[in-house]
C-alpha cells in the first residue's frame, strides 16, 4: 500500500512538472519584445484561433442534450455580440441551458 501511494505521488509529480515546464519555458525564454511583424501578427491571432478551435464543436456536447447546448451557444453568441461581460455571457448561457432542460428538451 505504501509503495502504491508513492507511485501515485510520483505520478502526480510527473504531471505537474511536465505541465509547469510547458507553461514556463516560453515565458522564461522570450523576455524581450519580438520585432518581426510576421511573428507578432501570428501571436496576436493565436488567442482567437486556439479559443475558437477549443469551443467548437465541443460546446455542443457540453450539456445533457444537444438542443439545450445549441440554445445555450446561441445565447452566449448573442450576449457577446452585444458586448456583455464574461460573467454575464457565461451565466446567460447556463441560464438558457437550464431553462431548456426544465422545458424538457
Amino acid at each position: 500500500m505504501e509503495g502504491e501511494m508513492l507511485r501515485v505521488i510520483a505520478s502526480v509529480g510527473v504531471m505537474a512538472g511536465v505541465t509547469y515546464l510547458i507553461r514556463m519555458l516560453p515565458m522564461a525564454i522570450f523576455r524581450k519584445r519580438i520585432d518581426n511583424v510576421y511573428v507578432k501578427s501570428f501571436l496576436a491571432y493565436v488567442p482567437y484561433a486556439v479559443l475558437a478551435a477549443m469551443t467548437f464543436p465541443e460546446i455542443f456536447g457540453s450539456t445533457a442534450s444537444a438542443a439545450s447546448a445549441v440554445v445555450g451557444t446561441a445565447a452566449a453568441v448573442l450576449l457577446a455580440y452585444f458586448g456583455r461581460g464574461l460573467l454575464t455571457v457565461a451565466l446567460g448561457a447556463s441560464a438558457a441551458v437550464f431553462l431548456v432542460q426544465i422545458l424538457g428538451f
Binding site: 501515485v8 505520478s11 502526480v12 510527473v14 504531471m15 511536465v18 505541465t19 510547458i22 507553461r23 514556463m24 519555458l25 516560453p26 515565458m27 522564461a28 525564454i29 522570450f30 523576455r31 519584445r33 519580438i34 511583424v37 510576421y38 511573428v39 507578432k40 501578427s41 501570428f42 491571432y45 493565436v46 488567442p47 482567437y48 484561433a49 486556439v50 479559443l51 475558437a52 478551435a53 477549443m54 469551443t55 467548437f56 464543436p57 460546446i59 457540453s62 450539456t63 445533457a64 445555450g72 451557444t73 452566449a76 453568441v77 457577446a80 455580440y81 456583455r84 461581460g85 464574461l86 454575464t88 455571457v89 457565461a90 451565466l91 448561457a93 447556463s94 441551458v97 437550464f98 432542460q101
Partner: protein, 240 residues
C-alpha cells in the same frame, strides 16, 4: 506606487471571479469522480492545486488509476497541455517588459485556457500584480471545488451541473466574439479555426487530429495564414 499595485491586484481578483465560478462546478465533478474511483481526497486536491488544468489532469488521473507508466503519464500530459506553450509564448509578449525573471516563473504557473483568455482581453500590458490576482481567484475555485467534490456525499443536481457545463465555453465566446465583430482578420481567424476544428472532429480521416494535437495544428496553421494575409503593422511605425 503602492496604491497602483494594490489596484492592479484587486482588478485581477475581480477579473478572475467569473473563472473561479466556472471552475467550481467543473472541479467539483472532477473531485467527486476521482474520489469515487478510489483516490484519497488530499491527493486529488493536490493534483488540482499543482496541475491547474482540466483535460490534462483528468487524463492523468485516469492513467494513475489504471496503473499507467510514468512515461505514459508524462507523454499524455505533454500532448494534451502542449497548447499552453503557444499561450505562454503569446502572453510573454504582453506582460510588462520590466517584469522580473522570478515574477515570470510565478506567472507561468497560472497559464490556463481561461486565465489566458481573460488576460488577452485586457487592453493594456500585464503587470505581475494584476496576474497574481487573476490567477489567485481561479486557483481557489479550482482547488476548493475539487476538495468539496471529493468530500461531498450527494451529487450536484444533474440539471444544474449540466447547465454549468457550458459556462466556461460561454466565456471563450465572450472573448472571441466582440473583436471578431470589429475586425475582419479576427473574424477570418475564428471562422477558419472553427471550420478546421469541426472537420477534424467529424471526418474519420482526421481522427488522429482530434483532441490535443488538433488544437495545436489548427492554432499554428490558422494563425500563420492570418498573419500572412493580414500582417499587423506597428502602430508607431504607421504614424511615422
Amino acid at each position: 506606487m503602492k496604491r497602483r499595485l494594490n489596484r492592479e491586484f484587486r482588478q485581477g481578483l475581480r477579473d478572475g471571479l467569473p473563472i473561479c465560478l466556472g471552475y467550481l462546478s467543473v472541479s467539483f465533478a472532477y473531485g467527486m469522480k476521482a474520489v469515487l474511483a478510489g483516490l484519497p481526497v488530499w491527493i486529488v486536491t493536490v493534483i488540482s492545486l499543482s496541475n491547474l488544468t482540466s483535460a490534462g489532469q483528468f487524463a492523468g488521473t485516469n492513467l494513475i488509476l489504471s496503473g499507467g507508466s510514468y512515461l505514459e503519464i508524462g507523454l499524455t500530459t505533454l500532448i494534451i497541455n502542449l497548447r499552453y506553450l503557444l499561450m505562454s509564448l503569446s502572453m510573454s509578449q504582453k506582460v510588462e517588459e520590466k517584469m522580473t525573471f522570478r515574477q515570470r516563473l510565478a506567472v507561468s504557473y497560472g497559464v490556463t485556457d481561461e486565465i489566458f483568455a481573460v488576460s488577452m482581453q485586457r487592453p493594456r500590458e500585464l503587470s505581475a500584480w494584476y496576474m497574481a490576482g487573476l490567477i489567485l481567484t481561479p486557483v481557489i475555485g479550482w482547488t476548493s471545488g475539487t476538495f468539496l467534490g471529493g468530500v461531498a456525499t450527494s451529487l450536484l443536481p444533474d440539471t444544474l451541473s449540466s447547465a454549468l457545463g457550458i459556462a466556461l465555453y460561454g466565456m471563450f465566446i465572450a472573448v472571441i466574439v466582440p473583436p471578431a465583430k470589429k475586425s475582419k482578420p479576427v473574424l477570418f481567424t475564428v471562422l477558419l479555426a472553427v471550420f478546421f476544428s469541426v472537420l477534424f472532429h467529424y471526418v474519420p480521416f482526421f481522427e488522429v487530429l482530434s483532441g490535443g494535437w488538433g488544437i495545436i495544428v489548427i492554432t499554428i496553421v490558422v494563425s500563420g495564414i492570418a498573419a500572412f494575409l493580414f500582417p499587423i503593422q506597428d502602430e508607431k511605425k504607421e504614424e511615422a
